[in-house]
Symmetry: C2
Subunit: 374 residues, 2 copies
């Protein structure tokens, strides 16, 4: 593979970088909006590009079930099917098989499951999941992993870890395209020793990037932060680090401080649909009666299309009236906010001011809520 | 009022014109997308402008109930509230009071009704409805009318007609702004004599524009066409003629042939949400399995954003996945199709080729379904 990850600046353990892909470069740290079903909910590709996004996340499990990866392959890949010519990372579906599907049977060979849509039976092996993602032609692909429900017995955890490593090896062997990054997923729950061991075994196989999986699934944020901090000393500095499914901006900030480069989360889009807006002053719930006559923009410091043209009162009216434009504008603003936050992180790192930036954001935003991928 | 309606070309009884408003000129014949609650469903103002729309319809009844006309007045009017700086026509709410609200009591004074949202009690007099529309600051406003459910006894019809005329007179007297057109609404059901009589009485009061109301409410399209054709000889040629709530393009075509200038209908947006697309080849239902692998654009002759960038298969995927982007793209295409159809009608009239245009469209589109406003 001729693609590189170049680190362009460093401030403590935080760093900025450029991830090269077959669909352009991605400046890191980067937040990826989630487009589970081949569309970032309520957004157009023009709007996503206008905001500045260079990479989105989609999902092998969902696209395999509907409309089918072979259909997408026939269209020349997911980029062409969904009209997005920038980078795409696809998750393998390991997490979705365990969280959405009715699980039938795990074996060393793979996992048999029933579709959450129609109950039909399917079988995912690591090789099948590679075939799916090669058909999708996404730019970064993930191997199938074994994600046991937590809490789990130590023996089940060790088994799942061994399987995750073995499946990662088989994924690497099954890979045929040279225009896709294959990251490995480090599991191990909240047990740091298991996490380290998992990473070591994956590292012996050798991957160009590593993801921390199995976090933001209900564990304490403090414990999650400890694991991320400890893994900073373990993950190779020169390759991309991806923290799966974590989205509250202050948690992203902490993770960036510990060398994380890539993020994805449904938080900005899902919460937009529920009327929650992220602003420079913290979160606001647009449905509240106090905004019914509020002529001010959702975020006084924001210069996005929504904040330049619409009042809180109008957004509240759209929300209470159940209008789609409300979902659109809320999603647009939240994704603009997220992109801006990451831009500001990158600038602060490049200027050697990440510590100051962190303290300022922490003092003004307070605590953010947890997030898990869907 | 310093605004004019200028007829710019004539072909038989079909004509092109320019309606001047406080928010720009509108080329007629014109189709107005429906934005009942202060938003054309699923569309942004940028998209509507990009398509070419210069006038939309909104609704006094809905905006009075939510968010309230006084709130909108405080914002400087509906244009500013909803971020639309082109023309707006507001319907008076007469039709909605009878079709959506629980009707309590009609008297000569006005109509008492209960909100369809929360059951609260309200009273609309012609004066109140003028006050609401002056607060909204829309560019064309409509008087409250009495719309009896059909079929009705001749006596009830005559009563409603007398009341509609009387309420129109009171509306004209109550009007204080000089930057709004006040059209009169001609009622009379499917009885041509009543229609003529209603018009004559309204004409004696004197209005700068006339609307045909109470059509597209369940009567036979053939009967509707007869009334429209007959009213062509009755309505003053030099003022704008508005056919309320009729949307199938072939019916619009027939109406334009009979001198109608303005149209509104929920058809392009409502049907978009149900997966129906209007194309140069006729209507298609994007949910059909036959499109699941169809790489072609929804309409091979269309150059809209949707048809340039998306396949039927992708639109079908969005529809069956329940994705908002599907509703957006379907609405966008349908509104583009409608605007294009009206542009082509205007061009044909200006070129003296409206007869040929009509025959060509009729032969390729066949029959279209009926439409009623909501």
């Amino acid at each position: 593979m001729g693609f590189e990850f170049k680190i362009t600046a460093q401030d403590g353990n935080a760093r900025t970088g450029v991830l090269q892909t077959a669909h352009g470069e991605v400046q890191t740290p980067a937040f990826m909006p989630v487009g589970t079903q081949g569309t970032v909910k309520a957004m157009s590709e023009e709007e996503l590009k206008g905001i500045g996004y260079r990479m989105i996340l989609s999902n092998a499990y969902h696209l395999y079930l509907r409309p089918g990866h072979n259909l997408i392959k026939k269209f020349g890949g997911l980029h062409k099917f969904m009209n997005w010519d920038r980078a795409i990372l696809t998750d393998s579906g390991g997490f979705q098989v365990y969280s959405l599907a009715t699980l039938r049977k795990i074996s060393e060979e793979g996992v048999e499951f029933q579709s959450h849509i129609d109950g039909s039976r399917h079988f995912f092996s690591p090789e099948k999941v590679m075939e799916i993602q090669e058909a999708l032609a996404s730019d970064v692909i993930m191997p199938l992993d074994d994600c046991p429900a937590l809490p789990a017995e130590p023996e089940r955890l060790r088994e799942s870890l061994g399987r995750t490593v073995n499946w990662a090896r088989r994924s690497k062997e099954a890979k045929t395209r040279d225009d896709q990054w294959l990251f490995a997923i480090v599991q191990g729950g909240t047990d740091l020793n298991l996490r380290r061991q998992c990473f070591e075994e994956l590292h012996q196989i050798g991957f160009p990037g590593y993801a921390l999986g199995g976090l933001a699934v209900g564990e304490e944020p403090g414990l999650r932060a400890e694991i991320i901090a400890a893994m900073q000393e373990v993950l190779p500095a020169d390759c991309p680090h991806y923290l799966m499914g974590v989205g509250p901006v202050l948690e992203c900030l902490e993770a960036v401080k510990n060398g994380i480069d890539l993020f994805d989360c449904v938080l900005p889009t899902r919460n937009a649909r529920n009327g929650q807006l992220f602003t420079s002053q913290g979160k606001i719930s647009i449905k509240r009666a106090e905004y019914s006559e509020d002529e001010s923009a959702p975020d006084p410091e924001c210069d996005c299309y929504v904040c330049r043209n619409y009042s809180k009162a109008y957004l509240r009216h759209l929300y209470v009236s159940g209008e789609i434009l409300g979902v659109r504008l809320n999603s647009w603003h939240n994704l603009y906010y997220y992109n801006g936050f990451f831009e500001r992180m990158r600038r602060a790192i490049a200027n050697g001011q990440f510590g100051e930036f962190s303290r300022a954001e922490q003092s003004r935003l307070g605590t953010e809520e947890k997030c898990s991928t869907g």
